[in-house]
C-alpha cells in the first residue's frame, strides 16, 4: 500500500504541475442561516470505537444545528491513497483522521492546515508537549507547523499468562517497579519448559517495534547534524537487538517459529499455554479479552526498563484540510471531539492511550480490569519516535531495515553485518532525500 501511495503521489505531483489547480466543486457554501456541513473521515474500526465516534458526532450535531458533521468511515488499509486523490482533486474531507507518520508529506505539500496558534488553550494545555511533537513538521518551505491534534497513542507492553507467571514464581512487575530487560530475560528463562516458551516475538514487521524499544537504552538509530540525517547503530542501538537475539538463540526462551508472525498471530499459542508472554502494543488487549477461552487469566505487564522506560511513539491525529471551506468550524468540532471526556471514550473504544491528561484520569482508563491501569500509566514514558522526522524513513524501513532485521532475527547474519547494512545501505537511501 505504501508503494501505491508513493506512485499516486508521484502521479499527483506530475499532474498538478501539468494542469494547475483543481478548485472546489462549487457546492455547499453556507449561505446565511443555512447550516455549515463538514465531512469527517474517521478510521475507527473496532466495534466499541465506531459506536463512540458515532455517538460523539451525534451529540455534536444535536448541540450545534448550524454546524452539521457527516461521519464518513474510511479504512487504515488505504486511507492515504484515498487522501492523495482527494487532496489533489481539491475535494478532501474537512476533518481527517490519520496518523502522524502520514502527516509529514501531506504537510510539506500544503494539503493540511497549519493549526499553530489556532488551537483552543484548553485543548492545547490538556495534551502534553511530547504528543504535540509528533504532529509538528516542516511546512515544506522554511518553517514548522502543527498539522494535527494528536489524540491516541500506543505503547509496547507485555501480555502474560497469569497462571504460568505464578507457577514459575517470578515477580509480577508494576508500573512503579517494572521489569528490567535482565529480569525479563530471567523470567522468560524460568517460564520456558518442554514444549512451551517464555516469550513469542512476532517480528513480521520488526522495525518500528525495535526502534521504539531501542529508546530504553537511548538508541535513536538516526543522527541529524547540520540538517543532514544519517543512520547510526552504536552500542545503544545494539542493546535491544542483541537481547532479543539472545532470547531466541542463546537462552532459547523465545520461539523462533513465532518470528514470521504478525502482532496478533501468537495469540492462539498464548491461549494454549505455548507462550507465557507476548510483547505487543496495548491495543492487542482487546483481542486477548475477546478471544481468550473462559477461565484464562492474563495480565498486562508494564513496559520494560533499560536505562529508562522511554519508548518512541507516534499518534493518531485529527487534521483540517487546507482546502476546507470551513476551517474554523472544523477546528471547533475537533476541540469538542477531543475534549477530555470524549478522548476517554475514544481511547476505551480503541484500547489505546489518550493524549489528554484529563482523559487519562477517567475511571474507565484506570481500572484494573483488562490491564487498563498498567496501560494508561505507560503513557508517561512515551516520547516522539526519533524516526518520525526522518525524510526517507519509509524507504529505509521497507528496503533496508525490514529485510536486514528479519535476517538477523533468523540468525542468518551477525549483529555487525546488520549494523553495517542498516548504516551503509541506509545512508545511501537517506542521501537521496536530503538533496
Amino acid at each position: 500500500m505504501k508503494r501505491l501511495s508513493a506512485a499516486l503521489a508521484v502521479a499527483a505531483v506530475a499532474l498538478a504541475a501539468g494542469c494547475g489547480s483543481g478548485g472546489g466543486d462549487g457546492g455547499g457554501d453556507a449561505a446565511s442561516g443555512e447550516p455549515v456541513k463538514l465531512r469527517f473521515l474517521s478510521l475507527a474500526w473496532q466495534k466499541e470505537s465506531i459506536e463512540a465516534n458515532k455517538q460523539i458526532v451525534a451529540d455534536w450535531n444535536t448541540a450545534n444545528p448550524k454546524i452539521q458533521v457527516e461521519y464518513v468511515q474510511g479504512s487504515w488499509d488505504n486511507v492515504n491513497d484515498q487522501l492523495v486523490t482527494s487532496f489533489e482533486a481539491g475535494d478532501p474531507p474537512d476533518v481527517i483522521h490519520d496518523d502522524s507518520p502520514a502527516l509529514s508529506s501531506f504537510a510539506s505539500r500544503g494539503f493540511l492546515l497549519d493549526l499553530t496558534g489556532k488551537i483552543p488553550a484548553e485543548l492545547n494545555g490538556d495534551i502534553p508537549q511530547a504528543a504535540w511533537d509528533t504532529v509538528t513538521f516542516s511546512d515544506g518551505k522554511s518553517g514548522q507547523g502543527v498539522y494535527g491534534v494528536p489524540f491516541l497513542q500506543e505503547s509496547q507492553v507485555l501480555i502474560a499468562n497469569k497462571k504460568l507467571l505464578d507457577g514459575a514464581g517470578v515477580r509480577v512487575p508494576t508500573p512503579d517497579s517494572p521489569w528490567t530487560w535482565d529480569e525479563f530475560a530471567d523470567a522468560a528463562g524460568k517460564l520456558t519448559k518442554k514444549g512451551a516458551y517464555g516469550v513469542a516475538w512476532p517480528m513480521k514487521s520488526p522495525v518500528n517495534k525495535v526502534l521504539n524499544l531501542a529508546l530504553n537504552f537511548g538508541g535513536t538509530f538516526f543522527d541529524t547534524q547540520g540538517g543532514k540525517t544519517t543512520v547510526k547503530v552504536g552500542p545503544q542501538e545494539r542493546e535491544v537487538l542483541q537481547r532479543i537475539h539472545d532470547q531466541l538463540y542463546t537462552d532459547r526462551s523465545a520461539d523462533p517459529s513465532a518470528l514470521g508472525m504478525g502482532t496478533a498471530d501468537p495469540l492462539p499459542g498464548f491461549f494454549a499455554g505455548k507462550y507465557a508472554i507476548v510483547p505487543a502494543g496495548v491495543y492487542l488487549r482487546q483481542q486477548v479479552a475477546e478471544q481468550a477461552p473462559s477461565g484464562f487469566e492474563w495480565v498486562t505487564l508494564p513496559p520494560l526498563k533499560g536505562q529508562t522506560s522511554q519508548q518512541g511513539a507516534v499518534s493518531q491525529t485529527l487534521s483540517v484540510a487546507a482546502d476546507s471551506k470551513h476551517p474554523d468550524e472544523a477546528l471547533k468540532f475537533i476541540a469538542y471531539f477531543l475534549n477530555g471526556p470524549n478522548q476517554a471514550k475514544l481511547a476505551k473504544g480503541d484500547w489505546l492511550l489518550p493524549t489528554s491528561t484529563t482523559a487519562a484520569k477517567d475511571p474507565a482508563l484506570t481500572t484494573k480490569e483488562n490491564g487498563w491501569d498498567v496501560a494508561t500509566a505507560s503513557a508517561k514514558d512515551l516520547v516522539v519516535a526519533p524516526f518520525l522526522k526522518v525524510n526517507g524513513f519509509d524507504e529505509w524501513k521497507s528496503k533496508v531495515a525490514t529485510p536486514a532485521m528479519q535476517e538477523y532475527f533468523a540468525d542468518k547474519i551477525s549483529l555487525d553485518e546488520l549494523a553495517k547494512r542498516l548504516v551503509e545501505d541506509g545512508n545511501k537511501v537517506l542521501e537521496r532525500y536530503s538533496r
Binding site: D91, P268, P293
Partner: protein, 272 residues
C-alpha cells in the same frame, strides 16, 4: 481405471476450489474464542450468528450490496452491448484501421491504474459524475471493455465466415444472418463476457474508493474493508460473515446463466 482417476482428479480440483469458501463459512460461524484456538476446527463447536448480526448492525451491507448489484449489472450489460458490435467489426473487417484499433486497445491495458486515477477523477468531476453510481459504472465499463472486446473478438472469429455466406446464399441479408445464425452461436461468448464484466465490477475497489465519497453511495468492497484495522489486524468474524454474503450474488448470477456456457454448438457446421 482411468475413469476413476479422472473423477479423483476432478474431486481434488473441486475441493481445491471449494476450500476457501467453506473455510469462510466455517469462520463466519465461529466465536472469537474458537477462532483463536491453536488447533483449528472445520465444524464450529458452538456455531453462532453473532458475526452476521455484528456485520449487519455496523455496516449498511444490504444497501451497499444493492448498489454494487446495480453497478455490476449495468456494467455487464453496457459492456456487452458496446463490445459485441465492435468485436464483430474487428473480427470480420480486417483492414489497417482494424489492426491499429485492436493494437490500441491492447496498449490501453498497459497503463497502471494509479497513473490515470487522478486525471480520471478530474474528468468525472467536470462531468458531475463524482460520487455517483453512474460515474462508477462509466469507469467500470471503460476498464472492462478492452478485455471484453478481445474475448468477444475471439468468439466471433471462431464462427466460420462460411455460415454467414451460406445464409446469404439462402437469401438472408447481413442483419438477418447476424440475428439468426451468428448471434445464437455467440451466446456462450456473450455469457462468458457478461460474467467477466459482472465479477470485475462487483469486486472492484480502487475506483470505488476514489470516486464514491458519501456513505449513501458506497459499494460493497468499500464496506468490507472497514473490518480491517491497522497492521493487517482484522475483525475476522464479521469480515468473514460479510464476505460470505458478498459472494452470494456472484454465485447466483453464475448459476443462473452458466447453462448457456456450453461449447460444441458449431461442431460439424462446416465440412471440408
Amino acid at each position: 481405471m482411468t475413469r476413476a482417476l479422472k473423477y479423483l482428479a476432478l474431486l481434488g480440483y473441486l475441493v481445491f476450489l471449494a476450500f476457501p469458501l467453506l473455510w469462510l463459512l466455517s469462520t463466519a460461524l465461529k466465536t472469537p474464542q474458537e477462532m483463536a484456538a491453536l488447533d483449528p476446527t472445520w465444524i464450529p463447536r458452538r456455531p453462532t450468528l453473532a458475526n452476521f448480526a455484528d456485520a449487519f448492525a455496523e455496516q449498511d451491507l444490504v444497501g451497499a450490496g444493492l448498489r454494487s448489484l446495480v453497478v455490476a449489472v449495468a456494467t455487464a450489460l453496457i459492456t456487452v452491448a458496446l463490445a459485441l458490435p465492435a468485436a464483430y467489426a474487428l473480427a470480420r473487417f480486417r483492414g489497417v484501421a482494424g489492426k491499429i484499433a485492436i493494437g490500441w486497445v491492447l496498449v490501453s491495458q498497459v497503463f497502471p491504474v494509479v497513473l490515470i486515477i487522478i486525471p480520471l477523477f478530474m474528468v468525472l468531476r467536470r462531468m458531475e459524475l463524482v460520487n455517483t453510481l453512474a460515474g462508477l459504472t462509466v469507469v467500470h465499463v471503460t476498464f472492462v471493455m478492452p478485455f471484453a472486446l478481445w474475448m468477444l473478438r475471439g468468439y466471433v472469429r471462431a464462427v466460420p465466415r462460411e455460415l454467414e455466406e451460406a445464409a446469404a446464399v439462402d437469401g438472408a441479408g447481413r442483419l438477418r444472418a447476424l440475428a439468426a445464425v451468428v448471434a445464437p452461436l455467440l451466446a456462450p461468448g456473450v455469457v462468458a463476457t457478461l460474467l467477466f464484466s459482472f465479477i470485475s465490477s462487483w469486486n472492484e475497489f480502487m475506483f470505488a474508493l476514489v470516486i464514491l465519497k458519501d456513505p449513501g453511495v458506497e459499494t460493497l468492497p468499500l464496506t468490507l474493508v472497514r473490518f480491517v484495522g491497522p497492521e493487517g489486524v482484522a475483525r475476522l468474524g464479521p469480515l468473514a460473515a460479510a464476505s460470505l454474503l458478498a459472494t452470494v450474488p456472484s454465485l447466483v448470477f453464475f448459476a443462473t446463466i452458466q447453462r448457456r456456457l456450453r461449447s460444441g454448438l458449431m461442431a460439424g457446421a462446416v465440412k471440408g
